[in-house]
Symmetry: C2
DNA sequence: CTGAAAGCGCTTACAG
DNA sequence: CTGAAAGCGCTTACAG
């Protein structure tokens, strides 16, 4: 709510602010045709600025009445369910949408018109336009981003990537590995940088020099893991362990090992990142760094609820802790 | 809309039907305390019967304004995203909820109060009470159920399980297998029966007698596949191929084979069911029967939209076709 | 195009 | 507990 305004804006208050009559504002809200373009633009701007919500969309303040959008880049990642599960646990009424369908043409306006009281955006950058509009409309948004660090003016929830990289690598060092490779995501991703820095620190603490040949970047998918692992395993002095950037990548690594005739973990130890449900189902079951996706969703829901009901945030960025889950894809190196 | 009523019910029309004043109905709708229990009950009943939607919840008829609940038994299955993806594609505004959080105490009432125009229920039986209330409230519901056959009075979308069982088994027969085992889900599930019947028919067509020892039932999860496969592989005349009831089960079978020192597909061929995204990521990549979950979701969304906007259905039950996806977990039997 | 006027659907004191 | 009355927020025909 803009500071100069007490209570929710009404058609009357918008009309007063615009210096037009109430019926005119009504027409703009309802998309009627008989409004001069200039008038429409003026009123439209004020509606947005004051975050006007049509009566038919107003909700009570009970959490289950607060409609909130959860926006995924694409609803195809196994992350999605995990995060969604957490967000729904927070008690808000969660509307799912994927970017493809929800971002055109004016995302923020459609959120307001649809009676959404806020949004949670998963793993995607907000465009500058979106940010500007959001700011103007006072519509709270929380970013769940295990991948990147959003601008510090947007509240966000992430995971402790550096610590995850550290613990995965320490685990491999403790098993006796010395030739440890790491596959990160695309170089531009901050999460990836953080994990690789954790990897470096673990090696340095163990007195093992970092071999640049063993530090790779690939996409976070099966293919990325598969391709980089194939290259790594073809090295003259090949690694005895690979720390992958995601569980999906780790499955690609395991497949590359299988195709190369190497057994996991006998010939090669593999550590993933995420701990998706399917990490337990791989053969062998995957040792991986657990990223608490459901908890991140729950936390994002709580933060958003806080923002909607007018609370203040202690911190714009929250990172939940990762931890290593040891299963059967890691073992001491072959002697 | 009840047939005797033209247009949407209003507080006034409900009041007239109940023989009370409009303010009294308003109080009931808003849960105010100063209403006699008998009056409240009378009005409540009429509100439900006439499917009264509070103004604050009324929506336009554009698909993106039609709020619809998608209810999962639990938001933990990898199916969930697939189905959800399909439903959101249908253009409806999808609110996710899992049974745990959404079924108490009066699910139907809370749907109406929340302005939902319909619901899609995934893989779960509606209670008799729910069905009765739904019938009374004229709130359309579609069941997506690849698992069971709901009562024929509820529109439902499923998959062709029998044909799936047939094609999976025929594939194994064509590769030269004769000792082919099948693991179904729990015996009470109709989908499971249908697939096993498809399996039987394929064997009979090939002139292979059905060995009751090779027909097992386990839960649909990793554990079910693992446990049944371990028993099967311990048989004196063990099978050379196993057709599992789900991809997750198939991963359990592969793990049991690995632990038993058998290679897939060299010593044992494995076929799954579902074709979840992760079927491509297993090692070896899984041959499986594709169940078009996203298409089923899309279809359910379309059917629900049809029902909401007053259309008639050609058929109460729709089954979308399954088909075999051949990857690397099947090969001719060891010679 | 604009807005005065009528009116709809609802809520909320308040008198009984 | 109930409902007549005032009034809020909005929409819609219609005069200008």
């Amino acid at each position: 709510m803009p500071p100069h305004q007490l209570g929710r804006p009404t058609l009357a208050s918008i009309a007063a602010a615009a210096g037009v009559s109430l019926p005119t504002v009504s027409k703009v809200v309802n998309g009627k045709q008989d409004v001069a373009p200039a008038t429409r633009a003026l009123v439209q701007g004020l509606l947005e600025e004051h975050n006007y919500v049509p009566v038919a969309r107003r909700s009570n303040e009970a959490p289950e009445d607060l409609l909130v959008d959860v926006v995924f880049t694409a609803l195809d990642s196994p992350w999605a369910v995990e995060i969604l599960r957490g967000v729904t646990d927070s008690g808000l009424a969660v509307v799912v949408s994927s970017l493809a369908s929800s971002r055109e043409p004016d995302w923020v306006q459609s959120l307001i018109a649809g009676g959404r009281r806020g949004a949670i955006v998963v793993t995607s950058r907000l465009t500058a336009t979106d940010q500007r509009r959001l700011g103007r409309s006072h519509l709270p948004v929380v970013v769940i981003d295990p991948v990147d660090l959003p601008g510090q003016d947007v509240p966000s929830v992430g995971a402790t990537n550096w610590a995850g990289g550290l613990s995965a690598t320490e685990h491999l060092v403790e098993l006796g590995h010395r030739r440890i490779a790491v596959i990160g995501g695309p170089e531009s991703y901050l999460c990836s940088r953080a994990r690789i820095d954790g990897y470096r620190t673990a090696l340095e603490r163990a007195g093992i020099p970092v071999d640049p040949d063993l530090v790779r970047h690939g996409n976070f998918h099966h293919e990325g893991g598969h391709d980089e692992a194939r290259a790594l395993l073809a090295l003259p002095d090949r690694p005895t362990a690979i720390f992958a950037g995601s569980d999906e990548q780790a499955f690609g690594v395991i497949e590359a090992a299988r195709v190369a005739g190497l057994s996991v973990p006998g010939d090669l130890s593999v550590v993933g990142f995420d701990d998706l449900p399917m990490a337990r189902w791989s053969s062998p079951p995957l040792t991986t760094v657990r990223q608490p996706l459901a908890d991140m969703g729950r936390m994002a829901g709580r933060v958003l609820h806080e923002l909607i009901t007018g609370g203040r945030l202690d911190s714009q960025r929250l990172e939940l802790s990762t931890h290593l889950v040891t299963r059967a894809s890691t073992a001491p190196p072959p002697s």
